[in-house]
């Protein structure tokens, strides 16, 4: 039992040995538990965390093993100790534990020793001083918390995910090895990874399948979609949400060439669409990254089911935030899928929402532009500031828009009041990394309509349509101003990208961030956890913050 490891490489075993050898066998408290007290004192002082941690690990590791049987036997053998003292327990551990290190995998069946484990563990846990946090729970849950503690020691970074797995009730079948060893821990942790993938992606952005911004987009987009479907405003053009700022001239980029199969009624729209899409046909195939397509394919399918207007609505609305890339992709995916059934869907759309189709060709152009940048948008690179791009894109889009109305006037006539020249800049999200060209049209306005609806909701009073329109205009001006400010701030700092510092400066000017209230406080107060993790670095650690090593 004597491990004579060099002092420079202390193993838990050696440390334990040392402690046991040097500990005063008499406690100050009671003669009976003299050793326990001494042990306690020693353990608490001499070794501090490391030893106790290792002790903990050893205790758990060993306790899980079949050796627990042996230990209890040993315990009984030490008849002179009527109760289990930490010293005795540790001695038993050393006696019974194999020489192998903790890191060696051991194949011990957990459920079998579990009941035996529980007993000694209970006794041990009664000795709280040793910080043996062996669970006093049923065997089914014994493993998880037990694993947790060593996990905490060995793999701190993974604790949060493990905790999630625990919370979700790790299937016991996946813990057959039941080893408390680190390696088995790892394996069991790996097993836990297998089951809940989502929490992982939430906790560990590095493991997320897609950039976190996308996730945020989903929520917002979904809500907006819900709202918009309920109102079913057909206005929104399909475009918008373009990740790229540069409006490629003539919108060559990215479309499938829609089969120009004019059908009665849908002819004009389709022809216009077909023309554009054909020109940009090859571009799309080249540029569209598989990833967004796949990701968005599912959504696109749904959208198709709902008919065109809905999609356009959602995409238009989403124009506001990072939703853009997502919706852009959705539109693109949808367009792809519509290759065959264009006419059919459009016919449906006509029946449902005529004007939406009118918007569509315009949307096409913008979408095409955007699509080229789809890949970059998803890469979440720090895109250019919104202001300039918006302006340029706006310039481009009206031209295209104007070309189409000729063919689509019949459908668009009632659209005109809405698109009546919006005052310039499109809504630009404060933290937009890649903002595409935003036409001052319905789609952009549709994005504001979301806020207008919020406004009318909170007003708790019926509101006139004129009032709502005014509100929309005010919002438009406000956001425009906001984005201009952000752009100017970024330029003032000699940058071309809008960064959180610029936003903080803006909020400071608004009086939201003061000397008493910092940005982080606001983030914590108002944003959901996913955003908070993005914004506040320490939130990454999932509530287990250790001093930097």
């Amino acid at each position: 039992m004597a491990d004579h490891n060099p002092d420079g490489d202390p193993t838990p075993r050696t440390l334990l040995r040392r402690v046991l050898d040097t500990a005063d066998p008499r406690t100050p408290r009671r003669p009976r538990s003299a050793r326990a007290g001494a042990q306690r004192a020693l353990l608490e002082t001499a070794s501090s965390r490391r030893l106790s941690g290792q002790t903990k690990t050893i205790a758990k590791g060993r306790s899980r093993g079949a050796r627990s049987i042996g230990r209890s036997a040993h315990v009984q053998a030490r008849g002179h100790l009527e109760e289990q003292t930490p010293r005795t327990l540790l001695k038993n551990i050393l006696l019974t534990a194999p020489e192998s290190s903790i890191l060696m995998p051991e194949s011990v069946v957990k459920p079998v020793p579990a009941p035996q484990v529980v007993q000694p563990s209970r006794r041990e846990s009664s000795r709280g001083s040793l910080e043996l946090q062996l669970p006093e729970l049923e065997p089914s849950t014994t493993l998880a918390p037990g694993l947790l503690a060593p996990g905490r020691r060995k793999q701190r970074l993974r604790l949060s995910m493990f905790q999630q797995g625990v919370d979700q009730g790790l299937p016991l079948s996946q813990e057959p090895q039941g080893n408390a060893d680190a390696s088995s821990l790892t394996s069991s942790l790996n097993l836990t990874f297998a089951t809940p993938l989502q929490p992982q992606s939430v906790q560990r952005p590095g493991l997320a399948r897609r950039p976190p911004a996308r996730r945020a987009v989903d929520v917002g987009a979904f809500l907006r979609d819900l709202r918009d479907t309920s109102l079913a405003p057909p206005n929104i053009v399909l475009e918008d949400t373009q990740p790229f700022s540069q409006p490629t001239v003539g919108s060559p980029n990215v479309y499938h060439s829609l089969p120009c199969t004019p059908h009665t009624g849908a002819e004009d729209a389709e022809q216009a669409a077909g023309r554009r899409t054909q020109s940009s046909g090859p571009g799309l195939q080249n540029n569209s990254p598989g990833k967004p397509a796949q990701f968005l394919a599912g959504e696109a399918e749904e959208v198709d089911a709902f008919a065109l207007g809905f999609l356009s609505t959602s995409s238009g609305v989403s124009g506001e935030d990072e939703v853009e890339p997502l919706h852009n992709g959705v539109e693109e995916a949808e367009k792809k899928m519509k290759e065959e059934g264009v006419s059919v869907s459009e016919m449906e759309a006509t029946g449902a929402q005529g004007p939406s189709r009118a918007e569509e060709p315009e949307g096409h152009t913008q979408v095409t532009e955007a699509e080229g940048s789809q890949g970059t948008a998803e890469a979440e690179g720090p895109g250019a500031s919104s202001g300039d791009e918006d302006a340029s894109s706006r310039a481009a889009s009206p031209e295209l828009a104007s070309s189409t109305p000729e063919s689509l006037q019949a459908r668009r006539h009632h659209q005109f009041p809405e698109p009546a020249p919006p005052p310039g800049a499109a809504v630009c999200p404060p933290r937009s990394r890649t903002t595409g060209p935003r036409p001052r049209q319905d789609p952009h306005k549709a994005g504001l309509s979301h806020y207008v609806k919020l406004f009318s909701f909170f007003a708790k009073m019926p509101m006139e349509r004129k009032a709502l329109e005014m509100v929309e205009k005010c919002l438009d001006k406000y956001f425009q101003h906001l984005c201009d400010d952000l752009e100017v701030f970024a330029a003032h700092a000699g940058r071309k990208t809008v960064k959180p510092e610029d936003l903080e400066l803006l909020m400071r000017r608004q009086g939201l961030v003061t000397d008493q209230v910092s940005l982080h406080v606001l983030v914590e107060r108002h944003l959901p956890l996913e955003y908070r993790q993005l914004l506040i670095p320490c939130a990454y650690s999932g509530n287990s913050v250790f001093p930097a090593q």
Binding site: F489, H492, A493, G494, E501, L505, R509
Partner: protein, 138 residues
């Protein structure tokens, strides 16, 4: 200690009051000019309101300027900061831009002059001034 803080507080307060009085006086003078110009009288309350407003706005400006300078990672407030501050009102921005260009020009001329003079002679008295000008320019 508390007394010191108090007296300091009082001093600051009285200083503030003096400043406010100065602002009030200036506002009064300006209002008189405008009144003569437009042939419309200003009531006392109006002048008081305007001066109070001006004072508070000056506070805001100062804080904003400091924030802008810090945002640009500088410790000195620059003409750029002032321009950023004035961007809201177009006419004011234009005015300030013109003025700043004027000042820049004046500095350049002064620099040229000083270079000439230093070439001729008498460097000592000029150099510190020159350095100051250069720094303010930069």
């Amino acid at each position: 200690m508390e007394e010191e803080a108090e007296t300091e507080e009082q001093q600051r307060f009285s200083y503030q009051q003096r400043l406010k009085a100065a602002v009030h006086y200036t506002v009064g003078c300006l209002c008189e000019e405008v009144a003569l110009d437009k042939e419309m009288q200003f009531s006392k309350q109006t002048i008081a309101a305007i001066s109070e407003l001006t004072f508070r706005q000056c506070e805001n400006f100062a804080k904003d300027l400091e924030m802008f300078a810090r945002h640009a990672k500088r410790t000195t407030i620059n003409t750029e900061d002032v321009k950023l501050l004035a961007r809201r009102s177009n006419s004011l921005l234009k005015y300030i831009t013109d003025k700043s260009e004027e000042i820049a020009q004046i500095n350049l001329e002064r620099k040229a002059q000083k270079k000439k003079k230093s070439e001729d002679g008498g460097k000592n008295s000029r150099e510190p001034a020159e350095a100051g000008v250069v720094e303010s320019e930069n």
